[in-house]
C-alpha cells in the first residue's frame, strides 16, 4: 500500500476521507427531528383516544412486517406473496405452543421466529435456482398451502374457529391495555427499524442488492448467490413471523380467515406506496395502509354515505389495487422519494440543487 500513500500527495487537500462521518445513520439536524419525534411518540397515548391508540398499535405491528417484506422485495427484489403465510406461521406457532404446552410468551416468540426461518428455508431452497420473479409463484403457492394446513389443523385438532391466546405476562404484570401494549410495541418496532437500517448499511444489505442487480457480476466478485438468497429469505421470514406472533398476541386470538391473500397484498401495497427498498417507506406505508380503512370509514360517515359491509371490503380492495398500480406506474420509489423531494425543495430553497461541495461530503 505504499503506492497509495504516494497518491495521497496528489489528492486535492479539501476532499474528505472521514469515514465515520459517512456510515452514520443520522447526522446533524436529523437528530433534532428524531428527538422531537421521540417526544411526540412517548406522549402519544395521552393525546389520542383508545380507538386511535389501538389503530396505532396495529400500525406498529404492520411496520415490523413491512420492514421485513421490504428487505426481501425492495432490496433483494424477490417478490413475495407469502407475507400472510409467514404472519400466520408466527401466529399459529404461538397459538399452538400456548394451547398445547402452555409455554410463556417469550418462548413462543422465539419458537414462532424460528418456525418462520424454517419455512423460509423450505421455500427458498427450490426457489434458488429460479429466476427471481418465479419466487412470486412459489410464495403464492406457499400461502395457499399454509393456510389450508392451518384450516385443517383448526378443524381436526383444535375443533374450533380459532385459538385463544392469553396476554403476555411479565412477572405480575399482564400486557393487556392499549397503552402498555403501545409502549411495548413502540420499543420493539424501534429496535426492528434500527436493525433493518443497520442491515442495509452492512455488507449483507449491500450483498442482497448486488445479487438482485446482477447475479453473474456479484458471483465473479466472490459472493455466493445461493447463500445470499438463502440468508435474505430466512432472515426476512423470521422477522415477519416474529411480527405475526406479536400480532396474534395483540389480537388475543388466531383464526385462519384473518390470514387471507388480501392481507399479503395489503403488505405489498404498504411497501410499494411507502417506497421499495426504503425503511422509511416501510414505516410510512404501514401507517398509511393500516389507517386507510378507518379513514375511509370516517369519510363515508362524514359524507353520510351508507353502504354494505361487503361493499366496503370491496372498496378497500379497489383502493389497494389503484394505489399499487398507480405507484408502480407513476412513482415506483413511493412516498419516501416524494418526501425526499419535498424536503429538499424546502431545505434548498431558493436553489434547486445541493451545492457541489456538500454533494461530495454527503
Amino acid at each position: 500500500m505504499n503506492a497509495g500513500r504516494a497518491n495521497a500527495a496528489r489528492r486535492p487537500p479539501t476532499l474528505p476521507t472521514r469515514i465515520t462521518h459517512r456510515i452514520e445513520l443520522f447526522r446533524g439536524r436529523e437528530w433534532v427531528w428524531l428527538g422531537a419525534g421521540a417526544v411526540a411518540a412517548l406522549a402519544w397515548p395521552m393525546l389520542v383516544t383508545q380507538h386511535w391508540l389501538h389503530i396505532t398499535n396495529l400500525s406498529l405491528i404492520a411496520v415490523m412486517g413491512a420492514v421485513g417484506l421490504n428487505l426481501l422485495t425492495g432490496n433483494a427484489r424477490l417478490v413475495s406473496l407469502g407475507q400472510a403465510a409467514f404472519l400466520a406461521i408466527g401466529g399459529f406457532s404461538a397459538g399452538a405452543m400456548s394451547h398445547h404446552f402452555g409455554t410463556p410468551f417469550w418462548l413462543n416468540l422465539i419458537v414462532a421466529t424460528l418456525m418462520g426461518g424454517l419455512f423460509g428455508l423450505i421455500v427458498a431452497i427450490p426457489s434458488l435456482r429460479l429466476k427471481a420473479l418465479y419466487v412470486a409463484i412459489t410464495t403464492l403457492a406457499l400461502h395457499f398451502g399454509v393456510t389450508a394446513a392451518f384450516a385443517v389443523y383448526l378443524a381436526r385438532v383444535i375443533r374450533s374457529e380459532g385459538i385463544l391466546i392469553d396476554p403476555p405476562q411479565f412477572g405480575f404484570f399482564e400486557l393487556y391495555d392499549a397503552a402498555p401494549w403501545y409502549y411495548f410495541l413502540l420499543l420493539i418496532a424501534t429496535l426492528v427499524v434500527i436493525g433493518a437500517l443497520n442491515l442495509q448499511r452492512s455488507h449483507l444489505g449491500r450483498r442482497w442488492v448486488a445479487v438482485a442487480d446482477h447475479e453473474v457480476a456479484s458471483s465473479a466478485l466472490g459472493i455466493s448467490i445461493h447463500r445470499a438468497k438463502l440468508s435474505v429469505f430466512v432472515i426476512t421470514s423470521m422477522l415477519v413471523s416474529f411480527a405475526g406472533c406479536l400480532g396474534a398476541y395483540y389480537e388475543g386470538v388466531v383464526t385462519e380467515g384473518f390470514y387471507d391473500l388480501h392481507l399479503a397484498i395489503a403488505y405489498l401495497a404498504m411497501i410499494i406506496v411507502g417506497g421499495l427498498g426504503s425503511v422509511l417507506g416501510s414505516i410510512l406505508g404501514a401507517f398509511l395502509i393500516t389507517l386507510m380503512p378507518y379513514g375511509l370509514d370516517l369519510l363515508l360517515k362524514f359524507g353520510g354515505v351508507k353502504i354494505s359491509a361487503g361493499s366496503i371490503s370491496g372498496l378497500h380492495s379497489v383502493l389497494y389495487g389503484v394505489l399499487i398500480v398507480g405507484f408502480m406506474l407513476f412513482e415506483p420509489l413511493g412516498l419516501a422519494e416524494i418526501w425526499r423531494r419535498v424536503r429538499d425543495y424546502f431545505m434548498l430553497w431558493p436553489f434547486k440543487y445541493r451545492p457541489l461541495d456538500q454533494l461530495r461530503q454527503r
Binding site: 417478490v79 431452497i125 429466476k131 403457492a141 447475479e215 453473474v216 370491496g314 380492495s317 399499487i324 398500480v325
Partner: protein, 285 residues
C-alpha cells in the same frame, strides 16, 4: 367414467388459463397474477347477461368481448408503460390489477355465488353412462379451444410472429416485427381464452370470489409444465387436475392445496425450469 370426465373438465379449464399465462409470459416475460380474477369476472358478466334474459349465443360473445377489452385495457394502460423495466415491476402491477378486479367484483356482484345454465338441455348417453349437457359443453369447449390455440400458434402467421418475439424481442424488432402489436395481441387473446375458461368454469361450478383460486392452480400448472411451453401447460393442467381430484376424493379440499404446493416444490427442486420449459440462459457477460 364420470370421474375421468370430471378430471378432464377441470384440466380443460386449467389448461385454458395456463395457456393464457404462457402466451403472456412468452411474449412479454410477465407473470399475469390476475388471470384467475379476470376469468371469474368474465364469468360474472356471463351470469348477469344470461340472467337478464340474453340467449347464450349472445351472452357468450359479450363475455368474450369483455375478456378482450380487459386484455387490451390492461395491456395499454399498465403493461406498455413499464415495458422493459424489471420484471418485479410487471408482477407487482398485475397483483394490483388482481386485487382491483377482486374489489370491483365484490362491489358490483356482491360476492354472490351463481352458476351458469347450460345452453343445451338434453342429457347424452356416452359409453353407457348418462352425461349431462353441461359436461359436453365444458369438455368440448375447453379442449376445442386448446386445440385452436395450438393451431393458431403453430400454423397462423400471427402465431409465427409471436414465437419469433418470444425467442428474441430485440432481433424481432430489428427484423421489422411490430413487437408492441404482437404483445398486445397476445394479451388480448390470452384474456379471451381466460373468459372462455371463466364461462366454462361457471358451467360446472359456482362463480364466486373464492373461485379465483382457479387462477392460482393454473399458475401452478403452467409452472410445473414450464412457463414458456404450450405442451407443458397442458401436461401441467392435467397433472394438477388429477392431483386435485384424487386428494379431494381421498381426503378433503384443503388437502388438495397442500398436495399441489408439495408437488410444485418437488418438481422445482428436480427440474427448476418445469417439465418442458427451456432452460433460461445465464446473463451474457
Amino acid at each position: 367414467m364420470l370421474q375421468v370426465i370430471t378430471v378432464l373438465e377441470i384440466a380443460g379449464v386449467y389448461a385454458l388459463l395456463a395457456l393464457g399465462l404462457v402466451m403472456i409470459y412468452r411474449t412479454s416475460r410477465v407473470l399475469n397474477l390476475a388471470q384467475g380474477e379476470l376469468a371469474i369476472i368474465c364469468a360474472y358478466v356471463a351470469a348477469v347477461t344470461t340472467g337478464a334474459g340474453l340467449p347464450w349465443f349472445l351472452a357468450i360473445p359479450v363475455t368474450l368481448a369483455t375478456g378482450a377489452i380487459a386484455g387490451a385495457v390492461i395491456y395499454v394502460s399498465t403493461m406498455r408503460p413499464i415495458l422493459g423495466e424489471s420484471p418485479v415491476v410487471g408482477i407487482m402491477t398485475t397483483v394490483g390489477v388482481a386485487i382491483l378486479i377482486r374489489g370491483v367484483m365484490v362491489i358490483a356482484f356482491g360476492g354472490d355465488t351463481t352458476m351458469l345454465d347450460s345452453p343445451f338441455g338434453e342429457a347424452v348417453v356416452l359409453a353407457g353412462v348418462e352425461v349431462g349437457p353441461e359436461h359436453l359443453v365444458v369438455l368440448g369447449g375447453s379442449w376445442g379451444c386448446v386445440l385452436l390455440i395450438i393451431l393458431f400458434n403453430f400454423y397462423s402467421s400471427t402465431g409465427l410472429l409471436m414465437r419469433a418475439v418470444s425467442d428474441d424481442v430485440t432481433l424481432s424488432a430489428q427484423r421489422g416485427i411490430d413487437v408492441d402489436r404482437i404483445v398486445g395481441i397476445a394479451w388480448v387473446l390470452a384474456l379471451v381464452v381466460g373468459a372462455v375458461a371463466g364461462y366454462l368454469h361457471g358451467q360446472r361450478a359456482l362463480i364466486s370470489t373464492a373461485a379465483t383460486l382457479i387462477g392460482v392452480n393454473a399458475l401452478i400448472a403452467a409452472f410445473i409444465g414450464g412457463m414458456d411451453s404450450f405442451r407443458g401447460a397442458i401436461v401441467g393442467a392435467l397433472t394438477v387436475a388429477v392431483v386435485e381430484f384424487v386428494t379431494i376424493q381421498l381426503v378433503e379440499s384443503h388437502w388438495a392445496e397442500i398436495a399441489l404446493v408439495v408437488l410444485m416444490l418437488v418438481v422445482l427442486t428436480f427440474r427448476p425450469w418445469g417439465l418442458f420449459g427451456t432452460v433460461e440462459e445465464l446473463e451474457r457477460v
